[in-house]
Amino acid sequence: MSIVTVQLGQCGNQIGFEVFDALFSDSHCPQGLCSKRENEAYQASCKERFFSEEENGVPIARAVLVDMEPKVINQTLSKAAHSGRWKYDQHSCFCQKQGSGNNWAYGYSVHGPRHKESIMDLIQKEVEKCDSLSGFFIIMSMAGGTGSGLGAFVTQNLQDQYSNSLKMNQIIWPYGTGEVIVQNYNSILTLSHLYRSSDALLVHENDAIHKICAKLMNIKQISFRDINQVLAHQLGSVFQPTYSGEGSWHYRRNPLGDLMENLVPHPEFKMLGVGNIPQMSENSLAYSTFTWAGLLKRLRQMLISNAKMEEGIDWQVRPPLSGLPTLSKMSTNKEFHFNTSIANLVILRGKDVHSADVGAFKDPALYTSWLEPVHAFSVWKTQRAFSKYEKSAALVSNSQFLVKPLDVTVGKAWNMFASKAYIHQYTKFGIEEEDFLDSFTLLEQVIASYCNL
């Protein structure tokens, strides 16, 4: 089954390019560490999911590119075309001239309705190219105007028009110290709207990925390109084909469906995070070897201590001992709090993957009490290695990891809202104070729900 990707705004389009590039490079990587037949099945599966075929054999990404000003899309199209290995369909682009001015209201209330037909038409055309549709992957940032506002509008329309298909939104959480001054307003409006119309929100934080670039990849002058490539690597390790367990060369057919089934048992809890291990620069890779035991131990500790990378993990954090009365409900101010999960999915790729022991992830202490670990935890093992890493592990987790950042963002937005600063820029385009209050209410609810796990 195929996934149709919708790339929105500068961020969405820049990331989208890196994602398709990473997927393509990996699927054509010669060091698959598996048999030729397996490799071919892997490539075919990857292709079915993400690319369609053109007459001269150049794969075309199954994507719709949307932006309200032309510069980034032009750049993205030409970067892909120049690579000579894959490209975008030039007709699957929608562009305007003026941009959204970092204004969520403008993206949602002006651009949305104005361009709804054109954009949905383009998506429809991509859908028709698929033999069968697994669902939509929407890449957007929360801080700006197009990705956030128009992204929320498009997701809502996808829900109306394709109610049987799944939608996963890849959201970029902006740096804590502003990229955009009104980013907190834009973020809360986006999150509250997506919470109602999306099936799952896959969140990546710029701050976290920045640290990975600095500490693990040792990049001196970090550019957005570096950040996007790390992100693309993480997404690739999640979305590339995995064995379905019904015997070799059978890869899972419904990537989005499988992810949702395992990770989103309850619509109140939709926020997913990704971590992976190992992550390092190509130079270091040649000199490193790993054991599954070592990787999994670190990955587990990353989960429970809410660490985004394998360096600087806090080993003091331990799961609460079972049998004892539960500790007082998690306060967002506590220092050594333990990251409770609702559901986890571990994806292992590479050499000797079947010998990897994931027992430690099945510990009931890791999870909230209303799900049995057998339902809360799944593991997918695939022999074929990912992107030159002899062994790699990815963790997709529905846990409390986002509570603190969300709480901070809501807090800042609330303070600003109390002073009424910038509100006139939103009411100008039809987003009233009521709408803000609705968003705040919904998000406080989400925070409370996650805190009470």
Binding site: Q10, Q14, E69, P70, K71, V72, Q75, K97, Q98, G99, G101, N102, N103, G145, Y175, G176, T177, G178, E179, V180, I181, V182, H210, C213, A214, I219, K220, Q221, I222, S223, F224, R225, I227, V410, G411, K412, W414, N415, M416, A418, S419, K420, A421, Y422, H424, Q425, F440, T441, E444, Q445, A448, S449, N452
Partner: protein, 475 residues
């Protein structure tokens, strides 16, 4: 891609405008080596086949035929505009986009605003409409003028109302040169205060500049260069301040170096909208992020670095110096000290080979020494444009919405009161039809209200920040 139209009014406005067009041509020539008319150039220039009569013949793509500036030149005396039209830039201006008169406004806001305003209203509208028609998607009007005289101040602000009524969706960015202390025009306080009221009510964003600051910057630069302190790494005639090596040679006039700084300001302001980068910033984002309340739309600007450097790969220390300088009071384009006042919002627009990590490192470094208003503690807007300005490898434009503009306004008010109390020169204004004393009192009130708003914000400076209690939800 959007287009912008520059409206230059009065002697000051036109002289600055002239520098701007010269630098803009040079910048695009440096970036666009193949002389193809692309979207970046079209933001400020039309591509015209001059053989076609009557201002038609716009060519939308392909080779550059003849570039015409998207500009309207207005002056109520002919000297300055004539000089421009006889000078090296004459081909850049469409001769039909001019409005001139002979007698001038006599440094009288009322003459500029009321007399010439009503006299030329139709013609102004017609020229503006024409320039808008030539645009595919007009986003912004840039108005350049001075506050102290008669034409720039009076007619320039009359224009704002016309633009607001006729093109309500198009942004109005005003670059205003405020009179400095030793201004030789006696009535400049009257003109400035009367103009301020219009700026308060009809401008989207105002970039105040004052001559004293520009002069100080030039002096400091000359001192640095002449003392040989900077060594061989620094070329003496910086492209920022001088027109040496400019596209078309102009005679260096006394204000040229100062005007060049302002011209660079406008170029850098629009660079991220015209050229590509990893974090673009369009003009509508400036207003969105930097104007938290409609009346507080005065932005203090600073440009760094001011000298060209010989080496291309700047070691981080020099790069960091660029960021530090942007916040020093010596680099601001008005007499202001943002570090010791309260920030409402701040934008950093970087050009050249600078990446997000450099930006973040410097924000982290400088943040502790700056005071932000309680509800906008992380009020930073940033942009990265990959194309550096001509002759530099990188540059930074900082725009601050900061209470440090207050002293300028308070000073202006004081100078106004000194004149007004004695009713000095008032009759020159009151004898113009449509002018009454209430015009003056209303203008004063408007300014006082603005100053009071800044006062209230300043009062919050030393108060401990208290978080507003959050909504509590039942689980």
């Amino acid at each position: 891609m959007t287009q912008s139209v520059v409206v230059q009014v009065g002697q000051c406005g036109n002289q600055i405008g002239c520098c701007f067009w010269d630098l803009a041509l040079r910048e695009h020539a440096a970036v666009n080596q193949k002389a193809v008319y692309d979207e970046a150039i079209s933001s400020f220039f039309r591509n015209v086949d001059t053989r076609v009569a009557d201002g038609g013949g716009d060519i939308s793509r392909g080779k550059i035929c003849s570039l015409k500036a998207r500009a309207v030149l207005i002056d109520m005396e002919e000297g300055v505009v004539n000089e421009i039209l006889q000078g090296p830039l004459r081909d850049v201006f469409d001769s039909k986009q001019l409005i001139t008169d002979i007698s001038g406004s006599g440094n009288n806001w009322a003459v500029g605003h009321k007399v010439f305003g009503s006299l030329y209203q139709e013609e102004i509208l017609e020229k503006l409409r024409k320039s808008a028609e030539h645009c595919d998607c007009l986003q912004c009007f840039f108005i350049i003028h001075s506050m102290g005289g008669g034409t720039g101040s009076g007619l320039g602000t009359f224009l704002l109302k016309v633009l607001e009524d006729e093109f309500p969706e198009v942004y109005r960015f005003v670059t205003s040169v405020y009179p400095s202390g030793e201004d030789d025009v006696i009535t400049s306080p009257y003109n400035s205060i009367l103009a301020m009221k219009e700026l308060n009510e009809h401008a989207d964003c105002v970039l105040p500049i004052d001559n004293q600051s520009l002069f100080d910057i030039i002096s400091k630069l000359n001192l640095m260069v002449n003392s040989g302190k900077l060594g061989t790494a620094i070329k003496p005639k910086s492209l920022v301040t001088s027109s040496a090596g400019a596209f078309k040679k102009r005679q260096e006039k006394p204000f040229d170096a100062m005007n060049n700084i302002v011209a660079n300001l406008l170029l850098n302001l629009t660079s991220s909208a015209r050229f590509e980068g990893s974090l673009n910033m369009d003009l509508n984002e400036i207003s969105m992020n930097l104007v938290p309340f409609p009346q507080l739309h005065y932005l203090v600007s600073s440009l760094t670095p001011l000298y060209t450097l010989a080496d291309v790969n700047i070691p981080p220390r020099r790069l960091d110096q660029m960021f530090s300088d942007a916040f020093s009071k010596d680099h601001q384009l008005i007499q202001a000290d943002p570090k010791h006042s309260l920030y409402l919002a701040c934008a950093l627009m970087v050009r050249g080979n600078v990446q997000i990590s450099d930006l973040r490192r410097n924000i982290e470094r400088l943040k502790p020494s700056l005071q932000f208003v309680s509800w906008n503690q992380e009020g930073w807007k940033t942009s990265l444009c990959s194309v550096p300005p001509v002759g530099h490898s990188h540059s930074l434009l900082a725009l601050a919405n900061n209470t440090c503009v207050k002293p300028t306004f308070i000073e202006l008010k004081a100078r106004f009161m000194r004149l007004y109390k004695k009713k000095a020169h008032l009759h020159h204004y009151l004898q113009i039809e449509g002018m009454e004393e209430s015009c003056f009192t209303e203008a004063m009130a408007s300014l006082s209200t603005l100053i009071e708003e800044y006062n209230q914000l300043d009062a919050t400076k030393c108060m401990p920040t208290e978080d507003v209690p959050r909504l509590s939800v039942a689980i």
